[in-house]
Protein backbone atom coordinates (compact mmCIF):
# COMPACT_ATOMS: atom_id res chain seq x y z
CA UNK A 1 0.00 0.00 0.00
CA UNK A 2 1.30 3.44 -0.90
CA UNK A 3 2.08 5.95 1.82
CA UNK A 4 0.42 9.35 1.81
CA UNK A 5 3.73 10.88 0.87
CA UNK A 6 3.94 8.58 -2.16
CA UNK A 7 0.38 9.45 -3.12
CA UNK A 8 1.20 13.14 -2.96
CA UNK A 9 4.31 12.62 -5.04
CA UNK A 10 2.22 10.82 -7.65
CA UNK A 11 -0.20 13.72 -7.76
CA UNK A 12 2.67 16.17 -8.07
CA UNK A 13 3.97 14.22 -11.04
CA UNK A 14 0.53 14.35 -12.60
CA UNK A 15 -0.17 10.68 -12.13
CA UNK A 16 -3.55 11.08 -10.53
CA UNK A 17 -3.94 8.48 -7.76
CA UNK A 18 -6.68 5.88 -8.28
CA UNK A 19 -9.32 5.43 -5.66
CA UNK A 20 -9.31 8.80 -4.00
CA UNK A 21 -8.89 12.52 -4.27
CA UNK A 22 -6.46 13.80 -1.68
CA UNK A 23 -8.11 15.63 1.21
CA UNK A 24 -6.53 18.30 3.38
CA UNK A 25 -8.58 21.13 4.87
CA UNK A 26 -6.91 23.91 6.84
CA UNK A 27 -7.39 23.03 10.50
CA UNK A 28 -6.46 25.26 13.39
CA UNK A 29 -9.10 26.21 15.94
CA UNK A 30 -11.19 23.23 14.83
CA UNK A 31 -8.34 20.80 15.48
CA UNK A 32 -7.83 22.23 18.96
CA UNK A 33 -11.52 22.02 19.87
CA UNK A 34 -11.84 18.57 18.30
CA UNK A 35 -9.15 17.33 20.65
CA UNK A 36 -10.67 19.03 23.66
CA UNK A 37 -8.11 21.80 24.07
CA UNK A 38 -7.97 25.54 23.39
CA UNK A 39 -6.76 27.48 20.38
CA UNK A 40 -4.35 29.28 22.70
CA UNK A 41 -2.66 25.99 23.58
CA UNK A 42 -2.67 24.93 19.93
CA UNK A 43 -0.90 28.11 18.79
CA UNK A 44 1.60 28.40 21.59
CA UNK A 45 3.01 24.88 21.94
CA UNK A 46 4.26 22.77 19.03
CA UNK A 47 3.67 19.52 20.92
CA UNK A 48 0.00 20.36 21.25
CA UNK A 49 -0.25 21.49 17.62
CA UNK A 50 1.36 18.31 16.31
CA UNK A 51 -0.63 16.07 18.62
CA UNK A 52 -3.97 17.62 17.56
CA UNK A 53 -3.07 17.52 13.90
CA UNK A 54 -2.22 13.84 14.19
CA UNK A 55 -5.49 13.12 16.01
CA UNK A 56 -7.42 14.94 13.27
CA UNK A 57 -5.41 13.14 10.59
CA UNK A 58 -6.21 9.74 12.07
CA UNK A 59 -9.88 10.49 12.63
CA UNK A 60 -10.60 12.11 9.25
CA UNK A 61 -7.98 10.17 7.27
CA UNK A 62 -6.32 13.39 6.11
CA UNK A 63 -3.68 13.03 3.41
CA UNK A 64 -1.37 15.80 4.57
CA UNK A 65 -0.68 17.53 7.89
CA UNK A 66 0.33 21.11 8.55
CA UNK A 67 1.99 23.57 10.90
CA UNK A 68 -0.28 26.53 10.24
CA UNK A 69 -1.50 28.21 13.42
CA UNK A 70 -1.79 31.99 13.13
CA UNK A 71 -0.18 34.94 11.29
CA UNK A 72 2.19 36.14 14.00
CA UNK A 73 5.15 33.74 14.17
CA UNK A 74 7.48 35.99 12.20
CA UNK A 75 5.99 39.20 13.63
CA UNK A 76 6.80 37.92 17.08
CA UNK A 77 10.35 37.10 16.01
CA UNK A 78 10.67 40.65 14.67
CA UNK A 79 9.90 41.86 18.20
CA UNK A 80 6.13 42.36 18.52
CA UNK A 81 4.25 41.06 21.53
CA UNK A 82 1.71 38.32 20.89
CA UNK A 83 -0.88 37.05 23.35
CA UNK A 84 -2.88 33.84 23.27
CA UNK A 85 -6.55 34.02 24.18
CA UNK A 86 -8.02 30.60 24.89
CA UNK A 87 -10.67 30.59 22.17
CA UNK A 88 -9.53 33.14 19.60
CA UNK A 89 -6.77 33.74 17.08
CA UNK A 90 -3.57 34.94 18.80
CA UNK A 91 -3.55 38.69 19.19
CA UNK A 92 -0.88 41.17 18.16
CA UNK A 93 -1.99 44.75 18.74
CA UNK A 94 1.46 46.25 18.49
CA UNK A 95 2.54 48.06 15.32
CA UNK A 96 6.33 48.09 15.37
CA UNK A 97 6.99 49.76 12.01
CA UNK A 98 5.73 53.30 11.60
CA UNK A 99 8.42 54.92 9.48
CA UNK A 100 11.36 54.25 7.19
CA UNK A 101 13.56 54.88 10.21
CA UNK A 102 11.81 51.98 11.95
CA UNK A 103 12.42 49.75 8.93
CA UNK A 104 16.12 50.62 8.94
CA UNK A 105 16.27 49.67 12.62
CA UNK A 106 14.31 46.45 12.08
CA UNK A 107 16.63 43.46 12.30
CA UNK A 108 15.85 40.24 10.53
CA UNK A 109 15.49 37.68 13.31
CA UNK A 110 17.40 34.45 13.70
CA UNK A 111 14.46 32.08 13.24
CA UNK A 112 16.14 29.54 15.49
CA UNK A 113 16.21 32.08 18.33
CA UNK A 114 12.74 33.55 18.02
CA UNK A 115 10.55 31.64 20.48
CA UNK A 116 7.58 31.31 18.12
CA UNK A 117 9.57 30.60 14.96
CA UNK A 118 11.59 27.96 16.79
CA UNK A 119 8.36 26.48 18.10
CA UNK A 120 7.18 25.87 14.54
CA UNK A 121 10.58 24.44 13.50
CA UNK A 122 10.35 22.09 16.48
CA UNK A 123 6.89 21.14 15.28
CA UNK A 124 8.30 20.15 11.89
CA UNK A 125 10.89 17.94 13.58
CA UNK A 126 8.29 16.31 15.79
CA UNK A 127 6.04 15.61 12.81
CA UNK A 128 8.95 13.88 11.10
CA UNK A 129 9.72 11.85 14.19
CA UNK A 130 6.09 10.74 14.45
CA UNK A 131 5.34 10.21 10.77
CA UNK A 132 8.76 9.06 9.53
CA UNK A 133 8.29 10.77 6.18
CA UNK A 134 5.17 8.79 5.31
CA UNK A 135 2.83 11.80 5.36
CA UNK A 136 3.64 15.13 3.69
CA UNK A 137 4.07 17.92 6.21
CA UNK A 138 3.15 21.46 5.22
CA UNK A 139 5.23 24.12 6.95
CA UNK A 140 4.06 27.70 6.94
CA UNK A 141 5.40 31.20 6.35
CA UNK A 142 3.78 34.61 5.99
CA UNK A 143 3.90 36.12 2.52
CA UNK A 144 5.72 39.43 2.20
CA UNK A 145 2.67 41.68 2.01
CA UNK A 146 0.87 39.92 4.85
CA UNK A 147 3.97 40.19 7.03
CA UNK A 148 4.45 43.85 6.14
CA UNK A 149 0.81 44.45 7.15
CA UNK A 150 1.39 42.64 10.43
CA UNK A 151 4.38 44.87 11.14
CA UNK A 152 3.02 48.21 9.91
CA UNK A 153 -0.75 47.79 10.32
CA UNK A 154 -3.06 46.75 7.52
CA UNK A 155 -4.65 50.10 6.69
CA UNK A 156 -1.33 51.93 6.94
CA UNK A 157 0.44 49.43 4.71
CA UNK A 158 -2.30 49.47 2.08
CA UNK A 159 -2.06 53.25 1.89
CA UNK A 160 1.74 53.10 1.74
CA UNK A 161 1.32 50.88 -1.32
CA UNK A 162 -0.35 53.83 -3.02
CA UNK A 163 1.73 56.68 -1.69
CA UNK A 164 5.12 55.54 -0.44
CA UNK A 165 6.89 53.02 -2.67
CA UNK A 166 10.21 53.36 -0.82
CA UNK A 167 8.61 52.37 2.47
CA UNK A 168 6.94 49.36 0.87
CA UNK A 169 9.99 48.09 -0.99
CA UNK A 170 12.26 48.43 2.04
CA UNK A 171 9.87 46.72 4.41
CA UNK A 172 8.85 43.93 2.07
CA UNK A 173 12.49 43.20 1.20
CA UNK A 174 13.10 42.53 4.88
CA UNK A 175 10.00 40.36 5.02
CA UNK A 176 11.29 38.30 2.07
CA UNK A 177 14.58 37.61 3.85
CA UNK A 178 12.82 36.26 6.92
CA UNK A 179 10.30 34.31 4.84
CA UNK A 180 13.19 32.56 3.08
CA UNK A 181 15.08 31.89 6.33
CA UNK A 182 11.98 30.49 7.99
CA UNK A 183 11.05 28.34 4.99
CA UNK A 184 14.56 26.89 4.78
CA UNK A 185 14.59 26.06 8.49
CA UNK A 186 11.28 24.24 8.22
CA UNK A 187 12.41 22.26 5.17
CA UNK A 188 15.59 21.27 6.97
CA UNK A 189 13.43 20.19 9.90
CA UNK A 190 11.44 17.88 7.66
CA UNK A 191 8.69 19.77 5.83
CA UNK A 192 8.15 18.65 2.24
CA UNK A 193 5.87 21.56 1.46
CA UNK A 194 5.89 25.18 2.59
CA UNK A 195 2.58 27.01 2.68
CA UNK A 196 2.85 30.74 2.08
CA UNK A 197 -0.11 32.76 3.35
CA UNK A 198 -0.59 36.19 1.85
CA UNK A 199 -4.29 36.72 2.46
CA UNK A 200 -4.33 40.48 2.01
CA UNK A 201 -3.35 40.15 -1.66
CA UNK A 202 -6.98 39.49 -2.59
CA UNK A 203 -7.74 43.05 -1.48
CA UNK A 204 -5.30 44.77 -3.85
CA UNK A 205 -5.57 45.30 -7.59
CA UNK A 206 -3.55 43.37 -10.16
CA UNK A 207 -1.23 46.29 -10.96
CA UNK A 208 -0.31 46.77 -7.31
CA UNK A 209 0.22 43.01 -6.90
CA UNK A 210 2.51 42.96 -9.92
CA UNK A 211 4.37 46.07 -8.75
CA UNK A 212 5.08 45.03 -5.18
CA UNK A 213 4.32 41.39 -4.57
CA UNK A 214 4.64 39.18 -7.63
CA UNK A 215 8.42 39.20 -7.95
CA UNK A 216 8.82 38.72 -4.22
CA UNK A 217 6.50 35.73 -4.30
CA UNK A 218 8.54 34.37 -7.19
CA UNK A 219 11.81 34.91 -5.31
CA UNK A 220 10.51 33.05 -2.26
CA UNK A 221 9.04 30.23 -4.35
CA UNK A 222 12.25 29.78 -6.34
CA UNK A 223 14.22 29.70 -3.13
CA UNK A 224 11.97 27.06 -1.55
CA UNK A 225 12.39 24.97 -4.69
CA UNK A 226 16.17 25.35 -4.42
CA UNK A 227 15.91 24.13 -0.83
CA UNK A 228 14.06 21.05 -2.02
CA UNK A 229 10.54 21.96 -0.94
CA UNK A 230 7.29 22.44 -2.77
CA UNK A 231 5.14 25.52 -2.34
CA UNK A 232 1.49 25.97 -1.55
CA UNK A 233 0.23 29.53 -2.00
CA UNK A 234 -2.75 30.51 0.10
CA UNK A 235 -4.59 33.78 -0.50
CA UNK A 236 -8.06 33.99 1.06
CA UNK A 237 -10.82 35.69 -0.88
CA UNK A 238 -11.32 36.26 -4.56
CA UNK A 239 -8.02 36.17 -6.47
CA UNK A 240 -9.44 35.72 -9.95
CA UNK A 241 -7.83 39.02 -10.98
CA UNK A 242 -4.41 37.74 -9.89
CA UNK A 243 -4.53 34.36 -11.61
CA UNK A 244 -2.61 35.45 -14.75
CA UNK A 245 0.27 36.68 -12.58
CA UNK A 246 0.12 33.67 -10.28
CA UNK A 247 0.36 31.42 -13.32
CA UNK A 248 3.93 32.73 -13.76
CA UNK A 249 5.06 31.94 -10.22
CA UNK A 250 5.75 28.23 -10.67
CA UNK A 251 3.75 27.47 -7.56
CA UNK A 252 3.07 23.77 -6.88
CA UNK A 253 -0.23 24.00 -4.98
CA UNK A 254 -2.66 26.87 -5.20
CA UNK A 255 -5.29 27.20 -2.49
CA UNK A 256 -8.45 28.71 -3.90
CA UNK A 257 -11.20 30.24 -1.82
CA UNK A 258 -14.83 29.59 -2.70
CA UNK A 259 -15.20 32.84 -4.67
CA UNK A 260 -12.80 31.58 -7.35
CA UNK A 261 -14.12 29.40 -10.16
CA UNK A 262 -12.01 26.21 -10.25
CA UNK A 263 -12.42 25.77 -14.00
CA UNK A 264 -11.34 29.32 -14.70
CA UNK A 265 -8.35 28.82 -12.41
CA UNK A 266 -7.46 25.61 -14.27
CA UNK A 267 -7.62 27.42 -17.60
CA UNK A 268 -5.37 30.23 -16.39
CA UNK A 269 -2.79 28.49 -14.19
CA UNK A 270 -2.66 25.32 -16.27
CA UNK A 271 -2.76 21.57 -15.58
CA UNK A 272 0.57 21.36 -13.74
CA UNK A 273 -0.56 23.31 -10.69
CA UNK A 274 -2.40 21.37 -7.98
CA UNK A 275 -5.51 23.41 -7.20
CA UNK A 276 -6.80 23.00 -3.66
CA UNK A 277 -10.29 23.97 -2.61
CA UNK A 278 -12.88 25.25 -2.47
CA UNK A 279 -16.17 24.68 -0.66
CA UNK A 280 -17.36 27.71 1.29
CA UNK A 281 -16.33 27.03 4.92
CA UNK A 282 -19.48 28.72 6.18
CA UNK A 283 -21.52 26.14 4.30
CA UNK A 284 -19.33 23.34 5.67
CA UNK A 285 -20.29 24.59 9.12
CA UNK A 286 -23.97 25.28 8.51
CA UNK A 287 -25.22 22.63 6.11
CA UNK A 288 -26.04 18.99 6.81
CA UNK A 289 -23.50 16.20 6.36
CA UNK A 290 -25.50 14.91 3.40
CA UNK A 291 -25.41 18.32 1.68
CA UNK A 292 -21.67 18.60 2.27
CA UNK A 293 -21.16 15.09 0.94
CA UNK A 294 -23.08 15.94 -2.24
CA UNK A 295 -21.27 19.25 -2.75
CA UNK A 296 -17.91 17.55 -2.22
CA UNK A 297 -18.81 14.64 -4.49
CA UNK A 298 -19.81 17.00 -7.26
CA UNK A 299 -16.49 18.83 -6.94
CA UNK A 300 -14.45 15.63 -6.81
CA UNK A 301 -16.20 14.20 -9.87
CA UNK A 302 -15.70 17.43 -11.78
CA UNK A 303 -11.99 17.45 -10.94
CA UNK A 304 -11.31 13.79 -11.77
CA UNK A 305 -8.20 13.46 -13.90
CA UNK A 306 -6.89 16.86 -12.84
CA UNK A 307 -4.38 17.75 -10.14
CA UNK A 308 -6.70 18.59 -7.26
CA UNK A 309 -6.89 18.39 -3.48
CA UNK A 310 -10.29 18.63 -1.81
CA UNK A 311 -10.53 21.28 0.86
CA UNK A 312 -12.70 24.13 2.02
CA UNK A 313 -11.97 27.58 0.58
CA UNK A 314 -10.29 28.57 3.82
CA UNK A 315 -9.98 27.38 7.43
CA UNK A 316 -12.54 24.90 8.72
CA UNK A 317 -14.43 26.81 11.37
CA UNK A 318 -14.32 25.77 15.00
CA UNK A 319 -18.05 25.08 15.18
CA UNK A 320 -18.10 22.76 12.16
CA UNK A 321 -19.68 19.43 12.96
CA UNK A 322 -17.08 16.63 12.71
CA UNK A 323 -19.53 14.60 10.61
CA UNK A 324 -19.44 17.33 7.97
CA UNK A 325 -15.69 17.03 7.69
CA UNK A 326 -16.06 13.28 7.55
CA UNK A 327 -18.58 13.74 4.74
CA UNK A 328 -15.91 15.56 2.72
CA UNK A 329 -13.49 12.70 3.29
CA UNK A 330 -16.06 10.08 2.34
CA UNK A 331 -16.98 11.98 -0.81
CA UNK A 332 -13.36 12.00 -1.93
CA UNK A 333 -13.00 8.21 -1.84
CA UNK A 334 -14.21 6.51 -5.00
Amino acid sequence: MMTKAQLFNLLSERQIPDGKTLFRPILMHFAARFSGKTYGQFASDYRTLVDYNLKAMDHFDLDLVGLISDPYRETSAFGAKVSFPDEAVPVCKEIIVNSIKDIKKLKNPDVYKGERTLDRINGAELFQKELKGEVPVIGWIEGPLAEACDLAGISNMLMYLMADPDFCHMLMDKCVITAKDFAKAQIEAGCQIIGMGDAICSQIDAYTYDTYVKNRHKEIIDYIHECGGKVKLHICGNITHHLPSISELNVDILDLDYQVDLDEAYDVVGPDVIRCGNINPVLVEERSAQEIYEASKMLVNKEKGRKFILSAGCEITVNTKPENLMAMRNASIF
Binding site: V89, I154, S155, L161, M162, A163, D205, H241, P281, N319
Partner: protein, 222 residues
Protein backbone atom coordinates in the same frame (compact mmCIF):
# COMPACT_ATOMS: atom_id res chain seq x y z
CA UNK B 1 -17.99 77.52 -7.62
CA UNK B 2 -19.49 74.47 -9.30
CA UNK B 3 -16.14 73.81 -10.97
CA UNK B 4 -14.45 73.85 -7.59
CA UNK B 5 -16.96 71.35 -6.22
CA UNK B 6 -16.25 69.09 -9.18
CA UNK B 7 -12.53 69.34 -8.50
CA UNK B 8 -13.07 68.45 -4.85
CA UNK B 9 -15.18 65.46 -5.87
CA UNK B 10 -12.47 64.42 -8.33
CA UNK B 11 -9.78 64.63 -5.63
CA UNK B 12 -11.83 62.48 -3.26
CA UNK B 13 -12.67 59.96 -5.95
CA UNK B 14 -9.03 59.54 -6.91
CA UNK B 15 -7.58 59.86 -3.40
CA UNK B 16 -5.70 63.11 -3.87
CA UNK B 17 -5.27 64.25 -0.27
CA UNK B 18 -3.23 67.42 -0.57
CA UNK B 19 -0.53 69.20 -2.55
CA UNK B 20 2.25 67.20 -0.91
CA UNK B 21 0.70 63.81 -1.60
CA UNK B 22 2.43 61.93 -4.43
CA UNK B 23 -0.75 59.93 -5.09
CA UNK B 24 -2.23 59.55 -7.63
CA UNK B 25 0.88 59.92 -9.79
CA UNK B 26 -0.94 61.78 -12.56
CA UNK B 27 -2.02 64.47 -10.07
CA UNK B 28 1.40 64.94 -8.49
CA UNK B 29 2.07 68.62 -7.72
CA UNK B 30 -1.61 69.55 -7.87
CA UNK B 31 -3.76 70.81 -5.04
CA UNK B 32 -5.79 68.15 -3.28
CA UNK B 33 -9.07 67.86 -1.41
CA UNK B 34 -7.49 69.62 1.56
CA UNK B 35 -6.50 72.86 -0.22
CA UNK B 36 -9.51 72.96 -2.54
CA UNK B 37 -11.99 72.57 0.30
CA UNK B 38 -10.30 75.36 2.22
CA UNK B 39 -10.34 77.49 -0.90
CA UNK B 40 -14.06 76.88 -1.42
CA UNK B 41 -14.85 77.86 2.16
CA UNK B 42 -12.59 80.92 1.97
CA UNK B 43 -14.32 82.01 -1.24
CA UNK B 44 -17.68 81.88 0.47
CA UNK B 45 -19.08 78.56 -0.68
CA UNK B 46 -21.93 77.18 1.39
CA UNK B 47 -20.28 74.45 3.50
CA UNK B 48 -23.33 72.27 2.95
CA UNK B 49 -22.69 72.48 -0.80
CA UNK B 50 -19.02 71.64 -0.29
CA UNK B 51 -20.14 68.50 1.52
CA UNK B 52 -22.98 67.45 -0.75
CA UNK B 53 -21.67 68.57 -4.16
CA UNK B 54 -18.03 67.81 -3.49
CA UNK B 55 -17.09 65.26 -0.85
CA UNK B 56 -20.21 63.11 -0.95
CA UNK B 57 -20.12 62.90 -4.75
CA UNK B 58 -16.48 61.76 -4.71
CA UNK B 59 -17.11 59.12 -2.06
CA UNK B 60 -20.17 57.83 -3.86
CA UNK B 61 -18.17 57.40 -7.06
CA UNK B 62 -15.37 55.46 -5.36
CA UNK B 63 -17.96 53.35 -3.52
CA UNK B 64 -19.60 52.31 -6.76
CA UNK B 65 -16.22 51.54 -8.34
CA UNK B 66 -15.33 49.37 -5.33
CA UNK B 67 -18.59 47.48 -5.60
CA UNK B 68 -17.87 46.86 -9.27
CA UNK B 69 -14.30 45.65 -8.52
CA UNK B 70 -12.85 48.52 -10.53
CA UNK B 71 -10.81 49.63 -7.53
CA UNK B 72 -9.67 47.77 -4.42
CA UNK B 73 -9.19 48.52 -0.74
CA UNK B 74 -6.02 50.68 -1.02
CA UNK B 75 -7.69 53.07 -3.44
CA UNK B 76 -10.76 53.37 -1.20
CA UNK B 77 -8.54 54.07 1.80
CA UNK B 78 -6.83 56.89 -0.10
CA UNK B 79 -10.21 58.37 -1.03
CA UNK B 80 -11.37 58.15 2.55
CA UNK B 81 -8.19 59.84 3.71
CA UNK B 82 -8.74 62.66 1.21
CA UNK B 83 -12.33 62.99 2.38
CA UNK B 84 -11.49 63.02 6.08
CA UNK B 85 -8.70 65.57 5.56
CA UNK B 86 -11.12 67.86 3.72
CA UNK B 87 -13.77 67.27 6.36
CA UNK B 88 -11.57 68.97 8.94
CA UNK B 89 -12.40 72.30 7.26
CA UNK B 90 -16.12 71.60 7.67
CA UNK B 91 -16.00 70.62 11.35
CA UNK B 92 -16.73 74.13 12.69
CA UNK B 93 -19.86 74.25 10.53
CA UNK B 94 -21.06 70.92 11.90
CA UNK B 95 -20.52 72.23 15.42
CA UNK B 96 -22.39 75.48 14.70
CA UNK B 97 -25.22 73.57 13.05
CA UNK B 98 -24.72 75.28 9.70
CA UNK B 99 -24.14 71.91 8.10
CA UNK B 100 -26.45 69.15 9.22
CA UNK B 101 -25.55 65.46 9.23
CA UNK B 102 -28.04 63.01 7.80
CA UNK B 103 -28.00 61.02 11.00
CA UNK B 104 -25.75 59.09 13.35
CA UNK B 105 -24.26 55.71 12.50
CA UNK B 106 -22.82 53.64 15.33
CA UNK B 107 -20.42 50.97 14.12
CA UNK B 108 -18.14 48.36 15.62
CA UNK B 109 -16.56 44.97 15.05
CA UNK B 110 -18.36 42.50 17.26
CA UNK B 111 -17.06 40.85 20.42
CA UNK B 112 -14.17 38.45 19.94
CA UNK B 113 -13.13 39.92 16.61
CA UNK B 114 -10.18 42.31 16.28
CA UNK B 115 -10.37 42.89 12.53
CA UNK B 116 -11.06 46.46 11.60
CA UNK B 117 -10.45 46.91 7.88
CA UNK B 118 -14.02 46.13 6.79
CA UNK B 119 -15.49 48.14 9.64
CA UNK B 120 -13.22 51.07 8.78
CA UNK B 121 -14.18 51.00 5.12
CA UNK B 122 -17.88 51.11 5.95
CA UNK B 123 -17.34 53.85 8.54
CA UNK B 124 -15.42 55.97 6.06
CA UNK B 125 -17.95 55.51 3.29
CA UNK B 126 -20.88 56.29 5.57
CA UNK B 127 -19.15 59.36 6.97
CA UNK B 128 -18.34 60.43 3.44
CA UNK B 129 -22.00 60.29 2.56
CA UNK B 130 -22.89 62.81 5.24
CA UNK B 131 -23.55 60.82 8.42
CA UNK B 132 -21.88 61.31 11.77
CA UNK B 133 -20.05 58.09 12.61
CA UNK B 134 -19.52 56.82 16.14
CA UNK B 135 -16.82 54.19 15.81
CA UNK B 136 -16.76 51.86 18.81
CA UNK B 137 -13.69 50.02 17.51
CA UNK B 138 -13.14 46.27 17.59
CA UNK B 139 -14.11 43.50 20.01
CA UNK B 140 -17.26 45.41 21.01
CA UNK B 141 -19.74 43.64 23.27
CA UNK B 142 -23.50 43.96 23.33
CA UNK B 143 -23.64 46.37 26.26
CA UNK B 144 -21.33 48.86 24.55
CA UNK B 145 -23.55 48.87 21.48
CA UNK B 146 -26.68 49.30 23.60
CA UNK B 147 -25.09 52.17 25.54
CA UNK B 148 -24.02 53.91 22.33
CA UNK B 149 -27.51 53.59 20.85
CA UNK B 150 -29.03 55.08 24.00
CA UNK B 151 -26.59 57.96 23.81
CA UNK B 152 -27.49 58.59 20.17
CA UNK B 153 -31.27 58.31 19.90
CA UNK B 154 -32.49 57.45 16.43
CA UNK B 155 -29.09 56.27 15.28
CA UNK B 156 -28.43 53.40 12.90
CA UNK B 157 -26.09 50.57 13.88
CA UNK B 158 -23.52 48.65 11.85
CA UNK B 159 -22.05 45.34 13.02
CA UNK B 160 -18.96 43.93 11.38
CA UNK B 161 -17.33 40.49 11.67
CA UNK B 162 -14.57 38.87 9.65
CA UNK B 163 -14.62 35.50 11.31
CA UNK B 164 -17.22 32.77 11.21
CA UNK B 165 -16.46 32.20 14.85
CA UNK B 166 -17.42 35.76 15.77
CA UNK B 167 -20.32 36.42 13.42
CA UNK B 168 -22.46 34.32 15.75
CA UNK B 169 -22.01 37.08 18.36
CA UNK B 170 -24.04 39.37 16.11
CA UNK B 171 -27.21 37.55 17.07
CA UNK B 172 -27.06 38.52 20.74
CA UNK B 173 -26.11 42.10 19.93
CA UNK B 174 -29.01 42.51 17.49
CA UNK B 175 -31.37 40.92 19.98
CA UNK B 176 -30.20 43.13 22.88
CA UNK B 177 -30.39 46.32 20.82
CA UNK B 178 -33.88 45.51 19.56
CA UNK B 179 -35.03 44.61 23.08
CA UNK B 180 -33.65 47.72 24.72
CA UNK B 181 -34.27 50.26 21.97
CA UNK B 182 -37.02 48.90 19.73
CA UNK B 183 -37.12 50.18 16.18
CA UNK B 184 -33.36 50.63 15.86
CA UNK B 185 -32.16 49.64 12.40
CA UNK B 186 -29.20 47.27 12.49
CA UNK B 187 -27.00 46.62 9.47
CA UNK B 188 -24.55 43.72 9.29
CA UNK B 189 -21.60 42.91 7.07
CA UNK B 190 -18.33 41.00 6.80
CA UNK B 191 -16.75 38.20 4.81
CA UNK B 192 -18.69 35.24 6.30
CA UNK B 193 -22.02 37.06 6.63
CA UNK B 194 -24.90 36.57 4.21
CA UNK B 195 -28.48 37.68 3.75
CA UNK B 196 -29.62 34.28 5.00
CA UNK B 197 -27.74 34.93 8.19
CA UNK B 198 -29.27 38.42 8.44
CA UNK B 199 -32.73 36.94 8.32
CA UNK B 200 -31.81 34.31 10.87
CA UNK B 201 -30.65 36.89 13.43
CA UNK B 202 -33.37 39.43 12.66
CA UNK B 203 -31.08 42.23 11.51
CA UNK B 204 -32.50 44.81 9.12
CA UNK B 205 -29.99 44.92 6.29
CA UNK B 206 -27.00 43.06 4.91
CA UNK B 207 -24.64 44.38 2.30
CA UNK B 208 -21.63 42.65 0.77
CA UNK B 209 -20.01 46.04 0.15
CA UNK B 210 -19.81 49.42 1.89
CA UNK B 211 -21.71 51.32 -0.79
CA UNK B 212 -24.69 49.03 -0.20
CA UNK B 213 -24.79 50.22 3.40
CA UNK B 214 -24.62 53.83 2.25
CA UNK B 215 -27.42 53.30 -0.26
CA UNK B 216 -29.60 51.65 2.37
CA UNK B 217 -29.03 54.43 4.90
CA UNK B 218 -29.88 57.04 2.30
CA UNK B 219 -33.18 55.32 1.60
CA UNK B 220 -34.24 54.97 5.23
CA UNK B 221 -33.05 58.33 6.55
CA UNK B 222 -35.90 60.79 6.95
Amino acid sequence: MEELFEKIAHCVEFGKINLASPYPPDMKGQEGADELTKKAIDEGADPDDVLKKGLVVGMEKIGVKFRENKVFVPQVLMSAKAMSTAMEHLKPFFVSGHVKRKGVFVIGTVAGDLHDIGKNLVAMMVEGSGFEVVDLGTDVNSQKFVDAVKQNPGCFVGLSALLTTTMVNMEKIVSDIKAEIPGTKVLIGGAPVSDDFRQKINADFYSPDPQGAVDYLNTVVV
